[in-house]
Structure formats: C-alpha cells, structure tokens
Symmetry: C2
Subunit: 311 residues, 2 copies
C-alpha cells in the first residue's frame, strides 16, 4: 500500500460518428489528475478541488471521482480505509471531451494505485461508470472506458459492460477542436428524435461494422467511408456554430472523417498520419476562428494507456 | 475458353440476426447448378430449366441467371459470344435461403468459368447482384455475395458494393431448418415498420459490432451474446409457425444464437462445433415436426468456397 499517489485520466472522444453510446477513444491531451493519500479515520474525503471554478461538490458521495473511489473501496472490501482525495480538473467542463468521465476514471485509478493495483483496470470499470452516472444520469461507458483503459473501446452493451478494445492502426491520429461555446447536455439530448427510420438504422449499422472491420484490417479508406453518422450528427450539428464549414475544412485537408465529439461542442477528425491530423486540425480551428469563436486544438495518436500513475 | 462448364452456387443465410440487408453467409447444402456451353450465333439463350416446376422464365433477359450472365458478358466485352445455359434449380423457392441469389451467382460463375476466369469473382459480383435484382426488386448483395464468394460477408453499403469477407472461427457451424410453409417476400417486407426506436437501433448496432468483433477474435460467447435481433425478428416471427419454440429448442440445445434466415421461413442457428449444430438442428426440426410441419435440416460449417466449377 502506498501513502500517496497521483494519477491522470485522459480526455476522450465518445460516439465516434457511428457508435452513439457504444464507442469511444482516448486522446493524448488534457485530462484530470487525482491525488489520493492514506489518512486517519475511515472513508473518503475530498480535501480540495482545483480548476473547477467552485462548481464541483466537495462531498465525496456527490462527486464523480469521490463516488467512484468509494464504490471501488467497497468492492475491494476496504471501506474502512481513510483516504483523502485532491482533484485537479485540468480539462474544460461541457466540452464533449468526457470531463466527468475522466474524473471518475481518475477516481478509481487513484484508489487502485494507492492499494498497489489489487485488480486489473477492467475490474474497476463498473465503479468508474457508477461515478460518471451521478454526473450524467446514464450508465454508459463510452467515455469512462477509454479514459480508464485507453485505446478505442467498443461497447456491445452498456448493461453488463460488454466492453472490447479494438485494434489501433499504426498511423491513426486524431485532431480534436474544442470551440469555446457551451452546449447543455440536456439540449444535446432533447434535440434527438426518439425514433429513426429503418434505412438510416441499417446504414448506421453498416457504418459501425465498417469502422470495426477497417480498424481490424488497418484499412484507412474503409475507416473513412464508415465515419458517416446519418442519425445523430444531422440532428446535433445545429448546436455547433458553423459545424458544416468545420467539417468540410477537415475533409478537404485530408481527414478520413469528421464528426461531433460526444455531445459536442468539440469536433474531432480521424486522420492517417500526424501530419494530416495537424493540417486538418488547423483547418478546423481556422474555421471556428473566422466566426470569432476561440478554440483549442489537440492533435494526438490514439492514447493507448488510459488512466496512469504519475507519481 | 472452354466448350462447356458446369458450376454450382450454394444456399445462403442472409441478415444473420443483426445484419439486416448487410450480412450473409454460405452453407454447404443445397444450391443451384448452371451449365454453360458455347453455341452458334450470339447472345445468351436458356435451353432448359429443371427443378422449378415451370415457374421460371426461359427468356434470358427475364431470368436471374440469364440476366446476370448477359451483364457479365457485356462487362467483359463479349456480348457477341453465343452461349447456351441450362439451369438446374436444386433448392427450394421462397425458403429464405437465397434461391434467386444462388441462380444469379451461378449465372455469372458459369460465364466466368466458360471464359477461363478472366476476372476475379469479386469483379463479377455487380452483375450477379443485378441478376438477383430482377427477381427481387432490390439491389442488395447479402445473399448473392456469400453465394458467389463464400464465407461470411459483411456489406458496409450495398450501393457501390462495399463488401468484406469476415474471419470464420474454426469451429463455427450452422444448422439451418427449412420448414415447408410459404411466406411471401412481400408479406415479409410489409410486416416491417418503416421506423425503429433510437435505443433499438443502438442495441442492434452494438450487436452487429459485437458479432464482427466476435468473429475476428474467435470469441464464441461474444458471438452468442451478439446474435440478438431486436428489430426485424420480433416483427417477422409471427410469420413462422412456432418460431419461439423452435428458437428455444436451438438455444437449449446449446446454439450460440438462432434467428430467421433471410425473410424466412427457414430458421438458422450458429453453433460452436458440428456436434452442437447437429443437436440444435435436430431439436429445431423436432419443434417444427411436433406442429406437423415437415422440414429439411442442413448442418454444415460455413461454406468458404462459394460458387465453384463442378466440371
């Protein structure tokens, strides 16, 4: 058992155009840090939170990282342990980059690391998903699983966490642009029709399957053809100023595909090679800037490591 | 160039529970034979059709095999060639086992073989799909592609024939039962709602992805969990007498999954190992027989060869 650990969990792109609620990947970019240390008494206490502008609850049971940490201690039969957590939010809220998921993933990773990793990360996933659920209301792993495990994660079903790591073609890179506009998750949900047409569903299913085959075969062109969201993106695009211009800019710069990261407003592109990702990312950024929308750009390969111990 | 060839194209199971219009596999079982021979004059003539009860048109342009053959000759710049076709239907119509697709696949295979295979099978696929289209009205390859190419075929999009062979786990076997009841393709289409709910679509997408991952990873349990059709099967089951009993019999006998083959009435099960497939097939057959419905059982590994030259 360690006296103190510091862990990091990265930002993630969920949905990935064709896997609404069932697909996500981690990026090298911003993320959250959690410090856990052994303390007197029992139970989890959050001693400080930085970077949240005072928005997040200090009460551990109400906090995604705290809740996830408490659940993992329970699972490990260690509820009697006294643990203090410091949470350092180092990524924006409401960006569509899985901020609350990163906190939840960092929460379980901190406990697991403090105890010298008594369980594989996968066995802590359920607790991390429960942690995000208190922020988000839904039990889904499309951000939490890649933030914790790294890589490109496909979730056959969220119930029961039927979760699978997909192969990552060597040259696959992501460009992610976070425009500084706000979208309420509620609005992003409310804009979605509860139904879809059968042909759209078939097309989406074909594209999800095509993406999976493309990843297994390192077939970049197939990946590109498959990154077409015919259901969610057409409904949510209106929430992101100039989305179609941004997307066109990415595709013209050679991106394989471009869509909304999670519920937005961030936009991601997948590309073959870092150079294309840089170019496509710069083009997307420029498209937002010409509308006077400041934005951040992150270019990275797929992050394979997920949550990690910093010290 | 040969003077005469005899080719065979196998029966197929389309949809495969979770890939409506985009997934199919070939079985070792019944199929269609086409004999092609060089003849005087030019153009394709059908000299005889056996096994069709007089139902199929002898006029080549109206016949699936004939139409497909004509289109391939055109594509090869050989329309001036005189070719006679004999068609031997050796599988039932309206069984849900891709009867017209087998004819169309055999039609192109016969021409390709007659000319010593000037093009890979994949390059003749478009003509075969056009052949089936005149029987079926729709341009889709979920039966034609596996009948021609063999294996388990995933179609990202029928338009443009974005077609991919999926890996076949060594022990994967199919049990297919054809009950002697008739379903009109029109009824099988009409019973389908033009819309689906978003959660159903997500679930189906997850299951299609799970099946693809399961095939790549030879993960039989994942294949089993993924073979759950939440959209089409619940609507079509009513057209097959005692479907739920038949399905339960297959699953109780150890099948990984069980659903409707194509538009029915045939029912298929996928199983790990020939023995389980035999047992599950016999159980399904028994379930039909107890309703006084005679039926045929075919048990086989996935047919990897597809259309082939017999002589």
């Amino acid at each position: 058992m360690n006296k103190e650990v510091r862990v990091f969990a990265p930002a993630t792109v969920a949905n990935v155009a064709v896997g609404f609620d069932i697909l996500g990947f981690a990026i090298d970019g911003p993320g959250d840090e959690v410090v856990a240390r052994l303390a007197e008494g029992s139970g989890v206490r959050i001693t400080s939170i930085s970077g949240d502008g005072g928005k997040l609850p200090l009460k551990a049971e109400k906090n995604t990282a705290g809740f996830a940490a408490i659940r993992l201690l329970e699972q490990l039969g260690k509820s009697g342990l006294g643990v203090e957590l410091e949470i350092h939010k180092k990524m924006p809220f409401g960006s569509g980059l899985g901020s609350s998921a990163a906190s939840a993933a960092a929460g379980v990773m901190a406990i697991n690391a403090l105890l010298d990793m008594p369980v594989p990360k996968m066995e802590s996933l359920h607790c991390a998903v429960l942690g995000e659920q208190i922020a988000d209301g839904a039990y889904h792993a499309d951000n939490v699983a890649p933030s914790l495990l790294g890589g490109i994660i496909f979730i056959r079903a969220n119930e029961g966490l039927d979760v699978h790591s997909l192969p990552i073609p060597d040259e696959l890179h992501a460009a992610v642009v976070y425009p500084h506009v706000s979208i309420l998750t509620k609005d992003a949900r409310d804009v979605l029709s509860p139904t879809t047409t059968l042909p759209q569903c078939i097309q989406q299913t074909g594209n999800l399957g095509g993406l999976v085959v493309g990843l297994y075969e390192s077939d970049y062109e197939l990946i590109g053809r498959s990154l077409q969201d015919v259901i969610i993106e057409p409904q949510r695009a209106q929430l992101i100023p100039g989305f179609s211009t941004v997307k066109s800019a990415a595709l013209e710069a050679g991106a394989l595909g471009c869509s909304i990261s999670g519920a937005g407003p961030s936009v991601f592109a997948l590309c073959k090679g870092r150079e294309v990702a840089q170019t496509a990312g710069a083009a997307m950024q420029q498209a937002f800037l010409t509308q006077d929308i400041p934005c951040d750009l992150f270019v990275s390969p797929i992050n394979k490591e997920g949550a990690k111990i910093l010290a």
